[in-house]
């Protein structure tokens, strides 16, 4: 078991964003987190990476309680994420963006950086090489000197994944990676995620694109109004009454609106 979410709740000024949610992810899985808008999916990501601390409950990663660890420590432990609204470093080249991702796997300090010690030079070389490999993996090697802000939308999404991969995660959190992508791009995203899985990295993904989720995920948890509605394989979820109702109900609402 890679990640275990145990009875996690989060309360924002009296409103329960998450209520007593429990699920766990096995090694090597692609695990989906779905649910209507406002169900608390991104909040869950924020709790895992400790942008907020949960009001109650525990988050166990590789057998270690990481609930109260600082955000950057969690990344060091091997969890890295992407954001729903892409958060790249806009005025940095694609290559450098990925190299920043490798921050916690390198350790040059001020002294060795300024005096370019042997180990620092070696480390920089390795970091560059690795970053280029990752850029190649996501198909962006030719854009390595382009500022992130000048990349196309789909490219930015892929760059963000490459940046996250640079931190050598054992668990990758993807927040709506297919949002705004066309069909072709989505297809190549599918291949990319599968590739990531084949590298032995566990993936937790939030996604609205249901065909993609069903095709990609090994198991899925459905959240609704902060509560866990269902858990299971794609087939189980697709036939789950409560899930259908939640989604249909939402659709009805939308129709009325």
């Amino acid at each position: 078991m890679v990640l275990k979410i145990q009875n996690v709740s989060k309360n924002f000024g009296g409103i329960n964003a998450l209520k007593d949610v429990t699920f766990s992810i096995n090694e090597g899985e692609i695990y989906g987190l779905i649910g209507p808008n406002g169900a608390g999916k991104t909040t869950m990501f924020n709790l895992i990476t400790n942008i907020f601390e949960p009001t109650s409950g525990e988050i166990i990663f590789n057998g270690e309680n990481i609930t109260a660890l600082k955000s950057y420590k969690i990344t060091e432990k091997g969890i890295c994420r992407t954001y729903q609204n892409i958060r790249l470093f806009p005025q940095m080249s694609a290559l450098k963006n990925v190299m920043v991702g490798g921050h916690c796997r390198s350790n040059a300090g001020v002294f060795s950086s300024v005096f370019r010690t042997k180990s620092q030079r070696k480390e920089e070389q390795e970091l560059t090489k690795k970053a280029e490999e990752l850029l190649e993996l996501v198909g962006l090697l030719e854009f390595k000197d382009t500022f992130a802000e000048n990349l196309a939308y789909g490219q930015q999404r892929r760059l963000e994944i490459a940046r996250a991969l640079a931190s050598n995660p054992s668990l990758l959190l993807l927040d709506e990676p297919a949002a705004g992508m066309n069909e072709k791009e989505t297809d190549s995203l599918y291949d990319l995620i599968k590739m990531v899985q084949s590298m032995g990295i566990t993936v937790l993904i939030i996604e609205h694109d249901m065909p993609l989720v069903m095709k990609l995920c090994d198991r899925i948890t459905v959240l609704n109004f902060g509560e866990k509605l269902a858990e299971g394989t794609p087939e189980e979820i697709q036939s789950n009454e409560a899930v259908i109702e939640a989604y249909l109900g939402k659709e009805e609402e939308e129709e009325i609106a």
């Binding site: 950057y72 990344t75 470093f89 005025q91 300024v114 620092q120």
Partner: protein, 317 residues
């Protein structure tokens, strides 16, 4: 020939330019991690007073005094930097501005130590100390065809130039490394930087402290170039002046800080005939600059274009 060119007046202006470059960099460094510090004047004062008092009262060598000044300012930077991390943007700017004012008021009021607003006189002058030291070894400036006061100012400029180059070298190298990438990623997106595993507390305090250290260094040097300091040298106006150096030249690149400090120190000297309207022009320039080119004269794009030009020329060659 050499002796004719070396005019202490030019050298003096040059030494102020060099000190101002250090000050501009002291704003630039924290800014490169997204922290706007208006406390430079205060840190500068701490460095100046520390070094001046140590060298006056304890007769310690200048170099140790100057280093001590910079270090005390740096330590104050750490002390202030850690709690200030909770603040960002304008809050940090105001808090540091306030800190600078508090430091100045302390200088004014702590009379037993600082002599209040009358200031400290008789601070050992850097060039002259070195001259005396060199004379101890039987050196005479006339041996290299210089008058002693030409020698004094030449030495000052050379030392300052060395320090400025070392500082720029330091900052540029740091920038192009893991540390620099972390700083600029924090500047661009603090949250994303943290989730990439960057300890933002450490890096923010680091850059804030480096800024304070540099300002303290510049202040200590200022004290030993001027030979006299008073609290009014470290007022709100100084803080704003330093900020303008950096912002005018371009706050995204170190060249901007260097250029801003150089240009804006020179302009009043060169254009003495408009000195009556100098501040009015300053004000107007700032307004226009922000409206037309808010990132300052130099920015990354301009630099890239300049580099590109060079490269294409190289290609022809």
């Amino acid at each position: 020939m050499l002796a004719d060119i070396i005019n202490p007046y030019f050298l003096q202006i040059l030494s102020f330019i060099l000190i101002n470059i250090l000050l501009a960099i002291s704003v630039y460094v924290p800014l490169s991690s997204g922290q706007l510090s208006l406390g430079s004047a205060g840190f500068m004062g701490v460095g100046a007073y520390t070094s001046a008092l140590l060298t006056i009262h304890f007769d310690i060598p200048l170099i140790i005094g100057i280093l001590a000044g910079a270090c005390v300012a740096g330590i104050l930077g750490i002390i202030v930097g850690i709690p200030s991390l909770r603040l960002s943007g304008v809050y940090l700017a105001i808090a540091t501005l306030g800190l600078g004012e508090v430091i100045r008021v302390i200088f004014v009021n702590w009379e037993s130590l600082t002599k209040g607003s009358i200031g400290l006189t008789g601070i050992p002058q850097m060039g002259r100390e070195i001259l005396n030291f060199a004379k101890g070894f039987g050196f005479d400036p006339a041996m290299i065809g210089l008058k002693s006061n030409q020698f004094v100012y030449l030495v000052i400029v050379l030392i300052l130039l060395l320090l400025v180059i070392a500082t720029i070298w330091f900052v540029v190298r740091q920038q192009n490394s893991r540390v620099g990438r972390s700083l600029s990623s924090i500047q661009m997106d603090e949250k994303a930087a943290e989730s990439m595993g960057i300890n933002i507390t450490y890096y923010k305090v680091l850059s804030f402290t480096q800024g304070a250290f540099l300002a303290g260094l510049a202040g200590a040097l200022f004290a030993h170039v001027m030979g006299y300091i008073s609290p009014s040298d470290f007022s709100y106006h100084r803080a704003v002046e330093i900020l303008i150096f950096t912002v005018f030249g371009g706050s995204e690149v170190i060249l901007g800080a260097v250029f801003g400090a150089t240009f804006l120190t020179l302009v009043p000297e060169v254009l003495r005939f408009i000195s009556d309207y100098r501040y009015i022009i300053y004000g107007i320039v700032l307004i226009i600059l922000m409206a037309v080119r808010p990132q300052g004269i130099f920015d990354i794009h301009l630099l890239n274009r300049l580099k590109g030009l060079k490269r294409s020329k190289g290609g022809v060659r």
